[in-house]
């Protein structure tokens, strides 16, 4: 096993299993959180992430395939590619990314941390990774937050292409788009005039 990434939440190791490259995501203990809250959170998030990975697999979303689950660790297939935030990722087809998110939302999964740091380009395809904050939910609000997070991290033209792809595949895009607009107006001390 080789450490390939050390994120805010988890360490990710890679290794081989029956000739396939796999990853193991292990949620680290956070020293700032009291032990009980910390292990409850880590265990619940591991369990929920495994369930989400299973659901997105069934829905045919481009994502790591779930192989197994431990108390604080998840075993899944490894996606080889470049993150959108990496250098040399090349041209990005945001429409395709929108379609992937819509496919996921159609299966009632909200990602929870949908930023370019969690989208990987592999060949001509785009893969969604890190379902650590994802939820199985039909909530329009949660889905709209996915769009909001990505919108905040990309340019307006890129977002327009993304939204187009999303609307093409989504079973019900209108309420999600409407909620997104509402959330954007909701920020603290945001000016609500049209000026």
């Amino acid at each position: 096993m080789r450490l390939i990434n050390s994120g805010a939440e988890a360490k990710i190791y890679s290794g081989m299993l029956f000739g396939t490259e796999i990853i193991v995501k292990e949620r680290r203990a956070k020293p700032y959180r009291i032990a009980q809250l910390d292990s409850e959170l880590r265990e619940a998030r591991t369990k929920s992430e495994a369930r989400v990975l299973y659901e997105v697999g069934v829905a045919g979303v481009n994502a790591p395939r779930l192989l197994g689950v431990g108390k604080f660790s998840i075993y899944a297939t490894r996606i080889k590619g470049k993150l959108l935030i990496d250098d040399g990722v090349g041209r990005i087809d945001f429409g395709k990314i929108g379609m992937q998110l819509a496919l996921m939302h159609n299966a009632n999964v909200a990602h929870g941390d949908f930023t370019p740091a969690n989208i990987m380009k592999s060949g001509k395809e785009y893969f969604i990774i890190d379902f650590g904050l994802s939820e199985i939910t039909s909530s329009v609000e949660e889905k709209a937050i996915d769009l909001l997070l990505l919108k905040r991290s990309i340019g307006p033209g890129q977002y327009a292409r993304f939204a187009k792809g999303y609307a093409r595949i989504s079973k019900d895009p209108k309420p999600v788009i409407a909620r997104l607009e509402e959330i954007e107006k909701r920020g603290r001390y945001q000016v609500r005039t049209l000026a």
Binding site: A8, K30, P31, D38, G112, T115, Y189
Partner: protein, 324 residues
Amino acid sequence: MLVLGIESSAHTFGVGIVDRGKVLSNEKMMFNITDKGLIPGKVAQTHIKNAPMTVKRALESAKIKITDIEGVGYTRGPGLGPCLQVGELTAKMIAKRLGVKIAQVNHGAAHVEIARDAAKMRDPLALYVSGGNSQILKAVEKPFKHYEIIGETFDIGVGNMIDNFARGAKLNPAWGSTVAKMAQNGKYVRLPYTVKGMDFAFTGLLTSAIKMLGKESKEDVCYSIQETAFSMLCEATERALLLTRSKELCVCGGVAQSARLREMLAMVAKENGARFGFAANEFNADNGGMIAFLAERMLKSGMDSKIEQCGVEQRYRIDRARIA
């Protein structure tokens, strides 16, 4: 440059005097909080009564005369309208009388800037936590120098959440430090924990904690609401640290006075190889010193306003406030 700063966004009327980035005096008079929270009109009346005395005290403890003052700054917002207006009027009066320049300061930006200076940091990631605000901030230069909001609360500020809970639990006085004291003998019970990337929400936690008061001991709920809320802030902050790759982290605002929150953030910083710092408590509570501090720099970089253009803005977002 001798600058007098006035803060009056909430229950504190504060006057501070700064010279070349050094705070010479920092005086304040406060509206006495009862269990009912703040009624803006009433607080403003108290501010009007306290204003002349606070200015006088600030001048006395800085050992200067009012005619020595070379510039004035005041809080434009965010805050409670009637309260802000008292500070605005006082500042305008002094500036007009003395014929000196006046600067309109953003309250949150002043909190961050005084903490950044106290911690001797250049370009930190800042967690700004107070009654009405909970934001993760980072300075950007374009189109003008201001603080960008990287993450923030989706609903209420962490301070208001804890004060609200304290009132629900009938604590006296109903604010954070009483909750912290009660928490010392508590144990953990499970409460909702809501973090979305670098944003967070507190109303779900507040509602559940108040509902839980009948079932669990007050000490336990105090302990758990504090641990849960602060853990949420720490998690979002840690994610922001990793994203921005910042090697400096500071905390500011009223809730930054919490020893527990500081302890937790120090661990977050250490884990990620960042330096951690904060200002003295007098600058985390609302105060005029921080307003004078930022006003001096704004005036020096030519950001003074015409007296007729000065006003207040209850929802003055930090990301619209130019700071240099």
